[in-house]
């Protein structure tokens, strides 16, 4: 019978033969990537640092790490570049321009929260494509909760649950499942 345990053992045996070098290469590549700074794809360096502030306003450090600790601002940049439509890109860019024009860089933390709250209130009723806040929040939440830190530290994640238990008691400290 193939079950979770011996399947995983089987995989590691296979990897030892076929892909050990590959696994090491992947690991080294990811470490190298972490050490070099992210090259912005859609955003300018200034815009990326503003987005870093914004994603941490949305998902700050609590009992789990903040959004930037999971690289969420970099995900927002990559998603804007590859996933967003031209219309969504334009909406986001003009949102960032308004942010810069309002003196966001010089604001205190509380002022920034107030700015984002005003922006959220006016944007939340707009259609997604025309809403800076909705696009920002979508990419922030997706980027964070689908990151390893977000999925495993802020939420509960099991790659291979091993089966399905339909009706169990909710433990007091139980986080929601990531997927």
């Amino acid at each position: 019978m193939i079950n979770r345990r011996n399947f995983l053992q089987g995989t590691s045996v296979l990897m030892a033969h076929a892909s050990f070098a590959q696994v090491v290469a992947t690991f080294l590549a990811s470490r190298a990537a972490a050490e070099t700074s992210h090259q912005p794809a859609f955003l300018s360096a200034d815009e990326l640092s503003r987005v870093a502030l914004l994603v941490d306003l949305i998902l700050p450090e609590t009992d789990s790490p903040a959004a930037t600790a999971a690289g969420t601002h970099e995900f927002v940049d990559l998603a804007l570049d590859a996933c967003a439509s031209p219309k969504q890109q334009a909406t986001f860019r003009s949102g960032l321009e308004a942010l810069a024009a309002s003196g966001f860089d010089a604001m205190s933390g509380q002022e920034r929260v107030a700015w984002l709250r005003r922006r959220a209130a006016s944007d939340v009723t707009r259609a997604y494509d025309e809403s800076f806040f909705k696009i920002l929040k979508d990419y922030t939440l997706t980027g964070y909760f689908h990151s390893e830190i977000g999925a495993t530290k802020a939420l509960a994640y099991e790659r291979i649950p091993g089966g399905f238990q339909g009706d169990i008691a909710l433990a007091a400290d139980q986080k929601a499942w990531a997927i």
Binding site: L59, K137, G166, I168, K175
Partner: protein, 564 residues
């Protein structure tokens, strides 16, 4: 001499066109009954487990955390609209630009081009049809009568169920016959609540765990399900039924299977003197070279529209309008289910209960409309698929909230939420149809398909009632925030396209006989969804598998008697 040698090397007892849900079954049954069988697959090879490259990837290991890019959508403008489509599954769907078709009216054609076909990405629901379904056309004067009844197919349903392994709950209803099933997956606390409310308030409606080709227990060395609910990536545990993981390996084990990917069937070769098909013409997907293969019997299992297109493209002096098309109905009576009607709701009790793992099936409410009598202003009926869960972080997407308290809130399980949609029968209409377009060719020089299909008054009335009934049932179960919907949907979207080469008793009004055999060409069988005469409420794949197994046994028997 060279030609003769070539012909011998290219000669088999049987040729099966297509390696998906139906083709895999034809391959298994024909090889196990002793035939040297060539399976031709138009798409690339896709090996079980070995080629499921995304199967065990975490969200952060997938490009863009599993979100499709603009580039993906540009290459797959139709496929990318499917709920299943993301970075982990996109390789299992065709590039729409390379596989063109034409929508005379809007029609979504979702498909793959690889060994296993859609058996790799299907939604795995497996229900039997009953005589309520097989007798419906005759009783109500729509289309033509089915040439079979439940008794004809029941042993073959059992044959298929015993081999594929399915789990779920028998409904104990005549309109949804009992099946060979492993124990069902658990219900969650909310579903148990709904089930008990239904039992208290209705005599004709019940909530059951869907019969699903997903193993809740080990079966023939496969499974059980590990609760990933990432089936469409391919299952490393072989826990759901796919051609790749189940029927094709069984066929290969006989030593009589030759599986050949990258082989696009252009047409069937008709031998006028013998009144039989002698083989098929194949275009290689990469080299575009044409080769002929020969066999005593040919099974078309190339999908509903794929098989019909091949028949249409098989023209000869005897069959100027497509092989087997003496009746003129080839290409007509296209059907799909419609799922525009349903409801959503929530529930803010039972919040001390949760679940673990991801169940890869739905709950089901079997058909209850127009069962004993015609009680509504439409014909036929519908069943519902019901999906429930506790809200997760995505509930934070649409709000204006943010910050520490917001983060704390959305990382906890939210209230229960429910989505249910009806799956309704569509009547057979002659002008819901497909036809070949010789002017517009695909990259292999093949004529492309035009599709024209609409839902009509009967489906619209039914869809309205699907919404009304859904709302009524949820309110009866004390579900909160109940909101019905009745959406316009695009035909094809349920991915149950069927009909266009229907079975029947009379060669004047049908393409196939009761054994899925082309009336006028006895060594050609068509056993995929194109054979369907009506489109009952239930998901159709189990019926395609059963009809294929039945037709295969019949074909071998007839070959043995020298009749084909």
């Amino acid at each position: 001499m060279g030609d003769l040698k070539m012909a011998k090397a290219n000669t088999f007892d049987a040729i099966v066109v297509g390696s998906g849900m139906s083709g895999g079954w034809a391959a298994k049954e024909l090889t196990e009954r002793g035939l040297q069988t060539l399976v031709l697959e138009r798409g690339r090879n896709l090996r079980h487990i070995v080629d499921y490259h995304t199967a065990l990837k975490d969200p952060w290991q997938l490009p863009h955390h599993n979100r499709p890019t603009q580039q993906d959508r540009a290459a797959q403008p139709i496929q990318s609209t499917l709920y299943l489509y993301d970075q982990s599954t996109k390789q299992h769907f065709v590039n729409d630009l390379e596989h063109p078709y034409h929508q005379a009216l809007p029609f979504n054609w979702y498909r793959g081009s690889h060994v296993g076909g859609r058996s790799l990405m299907w939604a795995r629901h497996v229900f039997r049809y009953s005589d309520l379904d097989f007798e419906a056309n005759l009783r109500e004067g729509t289309g033509i009568d089915w040439p079979i009844r439940y008794a004809d197919i029941a042993p073959w349903y059992e044959h298929v169920e015993r081999f594929i392994g399915a789990s779920g709950e028998n409904a104990d209803l005549p309109q949804l016959p009992d099946q060979i099933l492993q124990p069902p997956f658990d219900m969650n606390a909310f579903e148990k609540h709904i089930r008990s409310r239904f039992a208290a308030k209705f005599t004709d409606r019940k909530l059951i765990c869907s019969a699903t080709a997903v193993l809740s227990r080990e079966h023939n060395g496969r499974g059980p399900c590990q609760g990933r609910n990432q089936c469409a990536r391919g299952c490393p545990f072989s826990a759901y039924f796919s051609s790749n993981g189940v029927t094709l390996p069984a066929a290969a084990a006989t030593g009589r299977l030759t599986l050949q990917p990258d082989s696009i069937v252009h047409s069937l070769i008709y031998d006028d003197a013998k009144g039989r098909v002698s083989g098929v013409r194949v275009i290689h997907a990469e080299t575009k070279q044409t080769t002929e293969y020969f066999a005593r019997v040919v099974f078309l299992c190339a999908s509903t529209l794929g098989s019909t297109a091949i028949l249409m493209n098989s023209r000869s002096p005897r069959f100027p309008d497509g092989l087997g098309n003496d009746s003129g109905v080839l290409g007509h009576y296209l059907m799909d289910h419609h799922n525009g009607g349903g409801a959503v709701g929530s529930y803010s009790k039972l919040l001390d209960r949760y679940y673990r793992g991801r169940r890869s099936t739905s709950m089901y409410i079997p058909r209850f409309r127009n069962v004993a009598n015609r009680e509504k202003d439409f014909m036929r009926g519908y069943g519902y698929e019901v999906y429930t869960s506790r809200q997760n972080w995505t509930r934070g997407l649409e709000t204006a909230e943010f910050g520490a308290a917001f983060k704390d809130e959305i990382t906890r399980p939210g209230k229960w939420q429910l989505f249910m949609e009806g799956y309704g029968e569509t009547l057979p209409y002659k002008d819901n149809r497909v036809w070949l377009d010789a002017e517009r060719r695909d990259p292999w020089g093949m004529p492309t398909l035009n599709v024209s299909m609409t839902y009509r008054e009967n489906e619209r009335r039914m869809s309205e009632q699907m919404m009304i009934d859904a709302v009524e049932m949820l309110k009866a179960a004390d579900v909160e925030e109940v909101a019905g919907f009745n959406r316009e949907t695009i035909p094809g979207s349920v991915i149950h396209e069927m009909g266009t080469a229907r079975m029947g008793r009379d060669p004047k009004t049908s393409v196939l006989n009761k054994y899925n055999q082309v009336h006028a060409v006895p060594n050609v069988f068509v056993t995929d969804g194109s054979c369907m005469v009506s489109s009952p409420t239930q998901n159709p794949s189990l019926t395609y598998m059963a009809l294929t197994a039945r037709a295969s046994a019949y074909a071998v028997e007839q070959l043995g008697k020298g009749k084909i």
